[in-house]
Amino acid sequence: MPSTILGKRIKRKEDPRLIQGRGHYVDDIKLDGMLHMAFARSIHAHARIKSVNVAAARSSPGVVDVITGEEIKGKLGLVPCAAGIEGLKVPDHPCLATGKVCYVGEPIAAVVATDRYLARDAADKIEVDYEPLPVVTDPEKALQAGSTVIHPELGDNVAFVARLEGGDWKAVESDSSLKVIKQRLINQRLAPASMETRGVVAHYSPGEETLTVWSSTQIPHILKTQLALMLGIDEPHCRVIAPEVGGGFGSKLNLYGEEGVACYASRKLGKPVKWIESRRENLLATVHGRDQINDVEVYVQPDGKVVGLKCWIIADLGAYHQLLTPAIPTLTALMILGCYHIKNVFVETKGVFTNKMATDAYRGAGRPEATYVIERVMDMVARELNMDAADLRMKNFPSPDEFPLDLPTGVTYDTANYQKTLKRLLKISGYSRLRKEQEKLRKQGKYLGLGLSTYVEICAMGPSSRMPAGGWEFGAVKVEPTGKVMVLSGTSPHGQGEETTFAQIAADVLGIPFDDVTVYHGDTFQVPMGIGTFGSRTTAVGGTAIHNAAMQIRKKMARIASHKLGVKPGELIFSEGKIHTRDGAKSMGFAEVAAEAIFAKQLPEGIEPGLAAHSFFEPSNYTFPFGAHLAVTEVDAETGEIKLRNYYAVDDCGRVINPMLVDGQIHGGLAQGIGQALWESHVYDENGQLMTGTLMDYAVPKAHQFPWFETETMETKTPINPLGAKGVGEAGTIGSTPAIVNAVVDALRPLGVRHLDMPLQPEKVWRILKQHATA
């Protein structure tokens, strides 16, 4: 029977409260006697701290305490790193610096005061005496002999070197018929810049010895474990609540020193302590994204078949590891082959320390970098062989019947039909007509460019064997005596709308109205276990756990109803709030059966009372959503300005639960991916000073800068979970960046331009135009 609710455009359950400003974010939490915290941060990128004088801050109005790195030494654990990489060097990363600072913005001391303003004023009065040290911001310079070493105890600035190799390179390298194309690509540093900055309220109750923490986080359960360890508190005494969270994009998949210090201060002072990050701190000291140099070499047959790819990755990790810092570039290596069946691969990834803020997960987390490499390369190959970019891609796609497909990178792609999405894209965009238009405009000296990107990403993270701290997810379903249903999820959605998706999943299984389901998540005292929301896993893994728990409920209710109605459980159908036989002759209300189960007057033998079930879903593999994008750009021949004229996207994220939410994810993702290509860049100067420290300097993309996106979805279901859903949270960001760059390079092809590094600021383009004009 086709579902009545899955695949439907249902408006988000969370929107009425959110768009009316009635949600509660961390900053809305107000507790009796609550104190406020502000940080003094390093203004040097690398310096010894000779002294920290807090006397003036201490005597500043309203100040209750000033906490320094020296004070917390041995009393508050280090900022954790969970990445499991062989031979990884992990420098000590205290919550507050002692002895030295390694990046601008590193917290040095915390002021706790009776209000936020007084705390800030006092923090400015902390005097730090620095002895500046040589600064290294360029990861390649950090690798050179004689470079200043940021953590001398680790020997050099190399945090790790990881190699991934597959295929028969001897054969490839001895084949003289192959063409070799080389290119260096830069994937610049970005700021995640979520709408809500970080924030925490820590409340230690000395009587109960419990610590309750409200945090703007994507991973409340992991945060709870880590904070318990950091503070030496028994984990059952520790509760983390993620209230409404206004976006994270991966930057809140972390535990930050500031959170540790807030908890420490609350325990020390016996009062709740709040810290709300300012936008300036957010740009400075919340993890950054990307920042890789990719030297790529590709081996191609004369017919366009790509047979081998080598890539040397230099990943700028910043000064310290945050939770997953070194793991992110290893995902680049894993996905470097994109959606092409390339039989030989070699990737060397070097993680390098520099005097900058740590990089870590940012929407896509390693996969946008991989997609950028492979999709730029495919365009270069097409150009080198004078083939159409679409034809070349078609030539290198594996056929749909080759799935599941083992790649030499060691991953197995679940299902795909890359030909289908690309063909559809070419059709809806009028690709061949656009090519003709381009021809015509070129003759008039106008620059129109078409940029393709056919991507595949790795989602639904993931099997526990491949994840640092479990890759399963928890879901629970409870039916109340009134027949209303409560769903609990161990994921922690922060804007994606899964209260809606999860309600659809539960309502579908139980045949009840969508409005009868209420979803809760984010509170570790309410949801017993969980992993969190990241890696496009929430629906595919978390949604499946809910689906499985609901199936258990359904089975039990069917048995109870069959007992009452005198039919076999298998004859019963759950629909429209009723449990009935196919012909409708025998029927009970959903709430009626729930009451039977809970009041337990006449239960069939062997059936326990109550109506609650949970499931831990462990996926057997990742999922691999894919899609095909086309950007159409115009370049202003006089100024180099780039106009994005059209954008077409055909995405396949497996089973679609709610098309409206999928659209939302795609649109937002596109904006972020296009933002990287055209505008965004988080820039440090050579002294390690962050130059893009406000949103007047750092160019977050804005709605008015985009044309309407023409989007379509296709559904190639995954066998990895019973829903068939693959995940869509990062797809738009992953697919769009290379499409834009390919389009601009294509526009400038008559000028002999082969590559341009991002962001594609008009001046770069103008310089090329000018060079060409004078040549």
Partner: protein, 165 residues
């Protein structure tokens, strides 16, 4: 094309993290006098915009407090000034270091004096580095502000010298 990380950046020198400044000003006094005044803490204190303190310190330099203000942009900086390589009455090198709530600034420049027809032309060139909040938040305005302050300094220096004669 595109192999150098910085080559495509619009403004490579900006990434160096320094603000370059150079220029010249002519003041209507002979070079000997201009030199004397440029070495005179009292003159400098009067010419420096917003100078609240300019005192000789035991290290041979000067301790300085500047209240820098351009319209609504304001900051108080404390620091020191050192005069190096004095070559009277032709040139000297000036090193300035200061810090305030806006961050820190460090600068170094060479002043050289040329006389012609009773007037002295002071040529200056050097660079300054700013760090801390001001480096990341004032990008749009800091350079222009620095240039304006230097302009103001020489303008008022000329006025002070003329006034004291």
């Amino acid at each position: 094309m595109g192999n150098d990380r910085l080559s495509q950046a619009p403004c490579r020198n900006i990434l160096k993290g320094t603000v370059k400044f150079e220029g010249s000003h002519t003041i209507p006094v002979p070079r000997e006098i201009a030199w004397r005044e440029l070495m005179n803490p009292q003159t400098l204190a009067r010419a420096l915009p917003g100078c609240e303190k300019f005192e000789a310190n035991p290290a041979g330099g000067f301790d300085v407090v500047l209240k820098i203000g351009i319209a609504s942009l304001k900051g108080v900086y404390q620091g020191h000034v050192e005069i190096q390589e004095p070559n009277p009455p032709q040139s000297y090198r000036m090193k300035v270091e200061g810090k305030g709530t806006g961050g820190f600034l460090k600068g170094e420049g060479v002043l050289s004096l040329m006389e012609s027809a009773g007037n002295t032309t002071i040529n200056y060139s050097g660079d300054a580095q700013v760090g801390g909040p001001i480096a990341g938040i004032g990008q749009r305005l800091v350079q222009a502000a620095a240039r304006q302050i230097i302009q103001q300094f020489f303008q008022s220096l000329a006025n002070v010298i003329q006034g004291s004669r």
